[in-house]
Amino acid sequence: MTVLDKDTGTKTPGPDIAPASSAAAAAKRRLSSPWASFAAIVIAVLWTIPTFGLLLSSFRPESDVKRTGWWTIFSSPTFTLENYGEVLFGGSANLSSYFVNSLIITIPSVLIPIVLATLAAYSFAWMKFPFRDTLFVAVFALQIVPLQVTLIPLLELYVGGGLNGTFWTVWISHSIFALPLAIYLLHNSMREIPAELVEAARVDGAGHVRIFTRIMLPLMKPAIAAFSVFQFLWVWNDLLVALTFSGGTQDVAPLTVRVAELSGTRGTDWHLLAAGAFVSIVVPLTVFLFGQRYFVRGLLAGSVKG
């Protein structure tokens, strides 16, 4: 295949992209035997086919989905929008309200932890205070605390505080759960920024708040954006937190709660599950496509180079 050959990467999908001819590109030039391209295509196909099959299934009539594989659609094409109709308009509840809830849950649940984690990551990377490293290791290790362990203690606190069944519980919970990983990842990229930059600013008499807002934030933009996209995907796709803290009612519950119930008491309604999965995939996919350019610089690098 020629698509993956040659072109040493003058493509710059994002604003802060590194100049071309990277090490990988150079390595690839030698690797670009037909075998390398073949391997890339195999991986791409393997990774796409499962979703593709589900997409096709979501447009097939129920009886077909249950009797024949989706690949038979090429020999005997029958399409229907019925599955989507049932997913979107079936049942008593209006799907749009769940959709709104998902948005309302997701926005602060991305914003709050990102701000807090960036601040914390900055102080762990560039400030000096007692027990700094110990504290950082502790925060890092907290990643392991499984969500399920926190359900009862947190809900108890929310009930005590009268927050139960509001958006606040979901926002706060998501923020807490995101912090350890966010701090860990942002700390890593924060440290990639040359120390001279910070030290020079210190010498000029700038305080930490100023360094943070004037130097760090702009440099960290790609990393923050990249993490925001990840956090968005995780929150949008979450079921357990929403289920426990939102109380499942139409007032607060997000799309995932609704989609999870779509298959009804019967677990094998592939046609509904397929359509439901694609309804909930639309937003994260859009976010990813728009946020993709930030990944080019990625999570772990400041934008000093570009």
């Binding site: 590109a25 390398a36 990774w47 299934s57 009797r67 309302i104 919970s173 759960f177 999570l299």
Partner: protein, 322 residues
Amino acid sequence: MTLFEKFGQLLVAVAIFAAVMGVVLFVADRARGRRADLWQSIAFVAPAILLLLVGLIYPALRTAYQSFFDATSVGFVGVENYMKIFTQPELLLVLRNTFVWVILTPIVATAIGLIYAVLVDGSRVEAFAKSLVFLPMAISFVGASIIWKFIYEYRPDQQGIQQIGLANQFLVWLGIEPVQFLLLTPWNTLFLIIVMIWIQAGFAMTILSAAIKAIPDDITEAANLDGVGGLRMFWYITLPSIRPALIVVVTTISIGVLKVFDIVRTMTGGQYQTSVVANEFYTQSFRLFDFGTGAALAMVLFVLVVPIVIYNVRQMRKVDAR
């Protein structure tokens, strides 16, 4: 709640948060005197630490406490719950499965993500090619499990009955009897792991691809002049340069895998000997009401993460020493 009220709440929440953080930073910026640095540090770290104290540390400590008590957290039982985990055959199986998960998934997912990142780097269709592998990341764990359950779906090899799962259709095309993938102990754990790899390879690829692009040009150019290229470039230049990123990726995936829950729950419900620690915790605590054993299982997770933490700390020390 009306739409208006909901967005109202959203705005209020964001406004409150912005105001609080604004005040904190403003005050921190004004801090003067000998202790100014300390106060500033506190202003930066404290909000996050406070939330973590309440939301993660307190529950973790409570879990640790519960792990020494009986099912209803009333009577003290010492290490009995731990003994149970390490002696009962079913729970030992759970530990074994968790080990297989945490060893295989990070390695394979990272390797595939890295190879793919290198292969498509600089290609004309790079952005598109990367989205294909990233796509599973945009799907929830539950959604991904549904997709794969569909792939593993089994129909017997009989007249008039067609396979609806792709995996078995392949076997049939190859002339092999269809297999009940999810029932095939011990291989079924591997089939579940594939789902996690499918999801996490996109994460690995994204981060590693960015790291590869960040390798300074002078290094590559120098190597090029020395006649280094191809595989050797990959081994001696690319890999060492992206080492920190590799560590981050492997660490993040490992911890994610230790906590894996939705995949097992959706695909097998922990049956057919596929349960893992996180799933077993949920089952023991919330379905069997044995909060003691559940808590002890969670503690096992905490212990399992220790080597990962130690490794990371040592790496950080190395970087600091540089």
